[in-house]
């Protein structure tokens, strides 16, 4: 069938089952937008390309589908960069289509030209510069295949303007042929048996889960293992929700702001089984003292993660949907009930009971942790929760109960302030029937507040809790704890911004809570108000995220109190 390159892009997206794309037009993608004008593909016009990238990311995390975004060449494409890097760090499947200047003027420093394949090479799973219009269907097919299979990630397809306008014979390829790309789904059973043996022999085994468990759709398989063999679980930020954080075997988040129980368990366990994790430095602290008494096993889809940060004794490379059931089957053969010398479960449970995450309650001033507890209480914990980055993110991880995978939408690896609002928009569009909450700070929300307009345009019922303390709280906390209370440039002077008016300026609802007594009523009111609601919680500006293991310290150096 004859069509233009632009029409071929649209047709290819439809072949891939895409129903929603995020983008922002500009000079070099006008032909693509012209083709979209006639198509049934739903396009969400964000107010900044960064918003489009994060929204595609949030959509992908909430649904498990590939997020798609479009930007024009040059500044449009460079505005996607933070969003692409964010998706890459957290292994989120995305296809980003960028316009490029016409082939004949590439390399001439043309107007709005940027070498986007060069710029994105370190932050994409793969990228393409399309040089022949007839390659478009194959390249888009490959892009989706690469983005969603194996360890997911973002793929960039850079399309020069004249490629969009060239007429081609469109035929969508049936299969992908890539000699250099064959992710292993089913790995070696001998590797699984070795881990099963180690689990059977261990006295203090510990499961450490990350984002891979939810991403692989292996939560149920994992839960069965936990319950059948009674092995305690710790989680990275990205792993929260893979199984319910309220599960008796769940010790909570590990690492810098992890629970005392989780961090102690790492120090004391004799077998640490990492599952879909990458042993990030925010988790491990000082590598040399990470899990000092343990043999380390690692189950992951990505062979390059094994042995990268932490020395690994046993590995199982393959999809968790294969390896976890295989591990259970292998254990069933060798594990004898009661062979584990007792006391481990009691020990970790005692730590958990002795040192829950806690904060100093107040009747006078709103504590941000209290707001999160109230959000959890009034929603029954049944929500998809997006966050931004900073103290509020850690408090959300600590105080909100996550029961399901894909319910915490947060920038884990890159730590991108400004991610939350566009990500919540993507999540809400992907899960229109779910309640979507955004927990953010006054610093983070301002970084992409233009997207309030997008939320209003589509009447998205996102409920936003702004932990407004007039300070950049996490940096301030470090200044307080490690920089002699020299609060260099972490206060928003002049009383900050009026977030109620900000919301109203965009046509959204703004509410304010000034005292703890206001909090439940404001949340209740927000939940029953249609459309996007922004709640301005005037919270304490001297609150610290605790417990805390200082950066680079071993996990048993836990600070539980700060004066």
């Amino acid at each position: 069938m004859k069509m233009t390159g632009a029409q071929a892009v649209v047709a290819s997206l439809q072949e891939e089952g895409v129903d929603l794309i995020f983008g922002y037009p500009g000079g070099q993608v006008i032909p693509l937008y012209d083709a979209l004008y006639d198509s049934s593909l739903r396009h969400i016009l964000t107010r900044h390309e960064q918003g489009a990238a994060h929204a595609a990311d949030g959509y992908a995390r909430a649904t498990g589908k590939v997020g798609v975004c479009i930007a024009t060449s040059g500044p449009g494409a460079t505005n996607l960069i933070t969003g692409i890097a964010n998706a890459y760090m957290d292994s989120v499947p995305m296809v980003c289509i960028t316009g490029q200047v016409p082939l004949s003027v590439i390399g001439k420093d043309s107007f709005q030209e940027a070498d986007i394949t060069g710029i994105t090479a370190p932050i994409t799973k793969h990228n393409y510069l399309v040089k022949k219009a007839s390659d478009l269907p194959r390249i888009i097919k490959e892009a989706f295949h690469i983005a969603r299979t194996g360890r997911p990630g973002p793929v960039v397809v850079d399309v020069p303007k004249d490629i969009f306008t060239t007429t081609i014979d469109f035929e969508y390829p049936k299969e992908v042929r890539l000699r250099g790309y064959a992710p292993v789904f089913e790995g070696k059973s001998s590797e699984v048996d070795a881990v099963a043996q180690a689990i059977a022999e261990a006295n203090k085994p510990l499961f450490f889960i990350g984002g891979g468990v939810g991403a692989a759709g292996a939560s149920q398989d994992f839960l069965r293992l936990v319950e059948k063999y009674q092995i305690p679980v710790i989680s990275s930020l990205m792993g929260l929700g893979a199984i319910a954080t309220t599960h008796p075997m769940h010790l909570g988040m590990v690492g810098m702001h992890g629970t005392v129980a989780a961090n102690k368990a790492v120090m004391e366990c004799d077998l640490l089984v990492g599952i879909g994790v990458r042993f990030d430095d925010r988790v491990t602290g000082l590598i040399a003292r990470f899990a000092p008494k343990a043999k380390v096993a690692h189950l992951d889809i990505d062979p390059a993660e094994v042995n990268k940060n932490v020395f690994t004794h046993l590995r199982v490379i393959g999809d968790l949907q294969w390896s976890l059931p295989a591990l259970e089957a292998s254990l069933r053969k060798i594990f004898v009930e009661g062979q584990r010398s007792g006391g481990w479960i009691q020990e970790v449970t005692r730590w958990k009971e002795e040192s829950p995450v806690a904060y100093q309650k107040s009747d006078d001033i709103i504590k941000p942790q209290f707001v999160i507890e109230e959000l959890a209480r009034l929603t029954g914990g049944k929500a998809v929760v997006a966050t931004d980055v900073g103290q509020h993110q850690m408090w959300t991880a600590q105080f909100f109960p996550f029961h399901q995978p894909r319910t915490l939408i947060t920038s884990g690896g890159l730590g991108t302030m400004g991610y939350g609002l566009p990500a919540a928009i993507g999540a809400q569009l992907g899960q229109p029937d779910e309640l979507v909450l955004l927990v953010t700070g006054d610093g983070s929300i301002l970084m992409n507040c233009q997207e309030i307009a997008t939320a209003v345009e589509h009447r998205l019922p996102i409920k936003v809790a702004i932990m407004n303390n007039n300070v950049l709280g996490m940096v301030r906390q470090w200044q307080k704890m490690f920089f002699n209370q020299r609060y260099s440039h972490t206060r928003f002077a002049n009383g900050g911004t009026d977030y109620v008016k900000l919301a109203e300026a965009f046509g959204a609802t703004g509410l304010r809570a000034e005292t703890p007594a206001d909090v439940p009523a404001i949340i209740a009111k927000a939940l029953e108000t249609e459309g996007p609601v922004f709640m301005d919680f005037r919270v304490s500006d001297d609150e610290n995220v605790l417990p805390m293991v200082p950066a680079g310290a071993p996990l048993d150096q836990i600070i539980e109190e700060v004066d």
Partner: protein
Amino acid sequence: MRHTLAVLVENRPGVLVHISGLIARRAFNIESITAGYTEEADITRITIVVEGDNRSLEQVVNQLSKLVDVIKIVELTSEPSIERELALIKVKANPETRSDIVDIVEIFRAKIVDVNRETMVIELTGEETKIDALCEVLKDHGIVEMVRTGKVALSRRPGAAKETE
């Protein structure tokens, strides 16, 4: 220790950028890297010499393998293989010193490929250490400039690298 890797890649624009960029940003220690055509028109073979322990070698191989354009990586250090490098060395040579240089060239089985009134250009193919040795001797005469290709290597086994497991 040093490891020699044969990396077979798709012969596509940007593939060298992907590989060199990855090596740089992962802070791997690379001694040399060379690339060229192979018996298959759409495959380029890149020979990389990397310095490091087994764990860092594993990381280099695993990270490079993740690149979609990388088809196969074979470690040649662990198997019998032929390793060669080519050097062109421009050395100062006046009528008095020429015969001495010719003697040296003969001993090393190198070749003189150009001569003028002030210099000679010598071509030598061989293992790295042999080229190092020649350079050492020629230093006395004054090396004006030189270029080395970096190591290329081929397994002695009957099959091709692309067919190994």
